[in-house]
Symmetry: C2
Subunit: 412 residues, 2 copies
Amino acid sequence: MNAQIVTIGDEILIGKIVDTNSAWLGNELTLSGVKVQKVSSITDNEDDIKLALKKALEETDLVILTGGLGPTKDDITKKAIADFMGQEMYFEEALFDKIKAYFKRRGIPMVDAHRLQCFMPQGVRLLENQMGTAPGMLFEKEGKYILSMPGVPYEMKWIFDNSFKPVLKEMLPDGLYIYHKTIKTVGIGESRIAEMILDISDTLPSDISLSFLPSLGSVKIRLTKKSESNPKQEIDTYINRLTERLGSYVFGFNDLSLEEALLRDFSEKELTLAVAESCTGGLLSHKITSIPGSSKYFLGGVVSYANEVKENQLTVSKSTLINYGAVSEETVIEMLNGILNLMNPSVGIAISGVAGPGGGSKEKPVGTIWMAWGSKENQKTYKLSLAKDRLKNIEYATVFAMNQLRLFIKDL
Amino acid sequence: MNAQIVTIGDEILIGKIVDTNSAWLGNELTLSGVKVQKVSSITDNEDDIKLALKKALEETDLVILTGGLGPTKDDITKKAIADFMGQEMYFEEALFDKIKAYFKRRGIPMVDAHRLQCFMPQGVRLLENQMGTAPGMLFEKEGKYILSMPGVPYEMKWIFDNSFKPVLKEMLPDGLYIYHKTIKTVGIGESRIAEMILDISDTLPSDISLSFLPSLGSVKIRLTKKSESNPKQEIDTYINRLTERLGSYVFGFNDLSLEEALLRDFSEKELTLAVAESCTGGLLSHKITSIPGSSKYFLGGVVSYANEVKENQLTVSKSTLINYGAVSEETVIEMLNGILNLMNPSVGIAISGVAGPGGGSKEKPVGTIWMAWGSKENQKTYKLSLAKDRLKNIEYATVFAMNQLRLFIKDL
């Protein structure tokens, strides 16, 4: 089964929003064995929607539309579909009752736009949406399908997961396997990896595809094979060889994030962590706590943005700040000892740098970031020399910090 | 001038990465007066790339390809373009010298893949890339253009901004105006806004388009007009009417973020801020410090994830934690006073809640988040009752917190 994803809305074309829905859908469909041929974004003009539907249905079995449904004026997708299918609109009483009940429960006044939402093209199969007022809509046309969902990501995801997946299962034939596995690395670049694994990648069978996915500070390596017999074992053998070769650069597999790897490693060793952040401003704490269960090892942190906070909460001495500056090895070591004494974790980390775009000097240009990490007994420091982009600097430093923590506790 | 954006890579189709490049390009092109007709993502198969180039060039003046360039094996875009243009490849010595120098400067060994990168299709105009080793490539074919850039966002952006924009300027005809302005609101839903402004939106001229862009906790309202005379004044008049109607829900215009509005408002009143975060785990601090200049008002914060940190650093009393729990009005008030005493800011905020998915109880289900904010003299509290998604809860609470801070200091 093939699919195309079409997102509707000028907002995407003029760049006012990023289309995250297609990536999510692409992943879900691929894992379900549906091949996504194409993703496209079109304007929310009725004729463009009809033309896109026509073209896509010529090439594919399932067209998934997202966007263009909702209580405000810019809703025209429904009209375009009704017209394309040659159907009239009708008023869906049951939906109206549900929306009324929903607003009553939440104590919010209902507005006229919500009544208009209840007009539906004839022949639709409505798919429940517990996250909002616009249901998903499924249509069949000559053995092919159109699925239309609202563009709000959490509504779309809820409908797809809960209301559409059971239907999709019935649509799919049995017996085709797609298997992929991803190695997650951190602390090494794409080209260097390519070189390290060259002899393995050169002997990969041609039906196994290898791809690199670099992002700030980390690279994913993915192997994929599609076949009529289950390719899991073959892929896993290559994954094991690559993993062995890349050693401690590898922190996990598939969707495991670096944050999750930290939680895994700290929990395993029953260690705790506290952090002192200056230039990263809380992003390290946020990343760590973005995953459930992080309270198992993360005690907390101090965001010491102002120098007085470095002095008063983290006991950095005034003379260190004056003599060496807030961005220095001396300061991060004192910050580290400050947070170790304050919260008494097994391990701590301290970060202070010039994130930019201002604040740089000839001696300490934008992108200079000092870190110190370790326990009371064993401490390490490092100076990063990054580039000029503020957010990139903050994010890279955070990834670097998590990696150093991961490597540090390997030997504890 | 029309354009289509084509992103290359299976990674997008199978959902392993989100295409943020297209949104960025869409915005840049729109602001330059280029209409983006379509955005699409295709596989990194050579034939698919050639077919996409052919189709797009039939419909449009400028095709922008991103992705499929880089030092690792999955680079085939260049070959597809060379073939499509009917050109041979040649070795670009100057590029090779530059890459060699770059690696020497950074002290990183150069690998073979970087040499292969220096083969280029004849007839190319190379566009400098100071962020990486693969330059942008511009081709002309019968008065139409193909621009190909690497997919790594900061490389692509650098090339577009610095190397392509000056060229684009020469391509464009003079005299067509596209003007849009966006009102940024927070603390009110899309439907409610639609109702509040109904009489204004109903009388909008048909050539002015109105759209709503909801995201977690905030909604943008955008007016657009394209015309041969400058529509700025007309749009601004309607923007003023809408802004007046929506009152304090409006925090700014266009690309101004809520974080930037906070910086603006706090700086204007010369106030300072410190935060105490439990369930938001540092995201509030991160958002605040994600923009340059935030050190003007942001002193710092404590991420009090463990109860001991609430007790020891924020002086929340043990009895409060035992009698009312960490997620309670009593606790956030003590956390607020703790951070006010600790860092002595003009204003503070404290947040404690059950972000989920675990940790909920019948009395305090997942999504229960208490906040307290204010100065030593004047404090407010609020209980949010959110849903089940951890990250959504953390993000919504952060937006809510920033909005309460914004509203609180209005009267100071």
